[in-house]
């Protein structure tokens, strides 16, 4: 039903503040439904009634602040949860890059170049991850919407998030170890030139990332210059 859909969007806007319990939210929703019911009986269409009802109930952000005073622990619990989830996500991403890199490198075994391939692929996967993070910041973009959906899922499924995160982490770790065991004896035979090349690449990483950052997000005055 249309009403349920619009109510869900409104609820989402309040839930994001994270200061209401499920019960608080249900109580508010029932109030809105009561108002809509009463107003439609007075002759308003359901859409009009919902508009009035939401206006009467007040600004979600103001409400969220009021509820924060009643549920002071809730906002902190949420903050800690997101910190933990963020740490887990970061670990998975980092491990993922390492796994992809070592897997790619192990494909080139035993041609004698896997260490270079490892460095190069680690670099390119890192750049790829960097690109994904950048495009997630474009509001309304496809990536941003996907990230938002994931965020809502994480918010609603703390246990599944933890279990999935740790399982993925362990799985990726095992894969990396497996891939590494294939190329590690080759790394032992690597010559000095390869090490030098490696050092050069390591030196180039921050520079490339810096330049890429400038390119993706130029300074304010640069943007004005190019516009003029």
């Amino acid at each position: 039903m249309q009403l349920d859909k619009q109510l869900a969007a409104w609820k989402e806007s309040i839930v994001r503040a994270g200061t209401l319990t499920e019960e608080d939210l249900l109580e508010l929703e029932l109030h809105v439904r009561d108002t809509v019911h009463e107003l439609t009986e007075q002759g308003l269409t359901q859409e009009e009634a919902l508009l009035v009802a939401l206006r009467r109930i007040g600004d979600p952000s103001v409400l969220a602040v009021e509820y924060q005073k009643v549920n002071p622990g809730l906002a902190w619990a949420r903050r800690w949860y997101w910190m933990a989830a963020g740490f887990l996500g970061f670990s998975v991403a980092l491990q993922g890059i390492q796994t992809l890199g070592t897997l790619t490198a192990s494909l080139f075994y035993p041609k004698g170049w896997s260490f270079v391939v490892l460095t190069m692929s680690l670099l390119s996967y890192a750049v790829l991850a960097f690109g994904i993070v950048r495009s997630a910041k474009v509001p309304g973009g496809r990536v941003a919407r996907a990230v938002q959906r994931v965020a809502i899922w994480i918010e609603r499924h703390p246990f599944a998030t933890g279990a999935l995160g740790f399982t993925t982490l362990i799985g990726l770790r095992a894969l990396t170890t497996l891939a590494m065991s294939r190329i590690v004896d080759e790394i032992g035979r690597v010559f000095l030139p390869l090490w030098s090349l490696n050092a050069l690449v390591a030196l180039l990483v921050p520079i490339v990332l810096f330049l890429l950052g400038r390119y993706v997000n130029p300074d304010e005055n640069e943007r004005i210059e190019s516009a003029g």
């Binding site: 109580e27 439904r33 109930i57 009021e66 009643v70």
Partner: protein, 114 residues
């Protein structure tokens, strides 16, 4: 007539407690009753009553329960506690003191006019 935000907030506690003195009720009904009694002049941002109710409950002045009803939707009912009644007496004394002081200053009892 516009009643300022601070006064609306300050009067919420005695109003809620007084409405509940007549029997248990739920947020929507409390608001409707206050609005009718004030002839629409006390206009609450309706959502605000719920955190206010929660605060009063945390202070032990109210207790609440969910009531499942056969035909209508379920609702959270609030009832005043013994402690709440004592607190209301205190509020009453305070408001009457403010009221009588103002009336003494203004000479005659003033009834709200439009």
């Amino acid at each position: 007539l516009v009643i300022g935000k601070d006064l609306v907030a300050a009067s919420a506690t005695p109003l809620i407690l007084s409405v509940l003195l007549a029997g248990e009720s739920y947020g929507y009904e409390i608001i409707r009753q206050v609005r009718t009694l004030s002839r629409d002049r006390l206009d609450w941002s309706e959502g605000m009553i719920y955190p206010a109710l929660r605060r009063l409950e945390q202070r032990g002045l109210l207790k609440s329960r969910w009531v499942e009803s056969g035909e209508g939707p379920r609702r959270k009912y609030y009832a005043i506690t013994k402690q709440g009644k004592a607190a209301l007496q205190g509020e009453k004394d305070a408001w009457l003191t403010v009221n009588s002081t103002l009336q003494a200053l203004w000479g005659t009892p003033i009834h709200a006019t439009r």
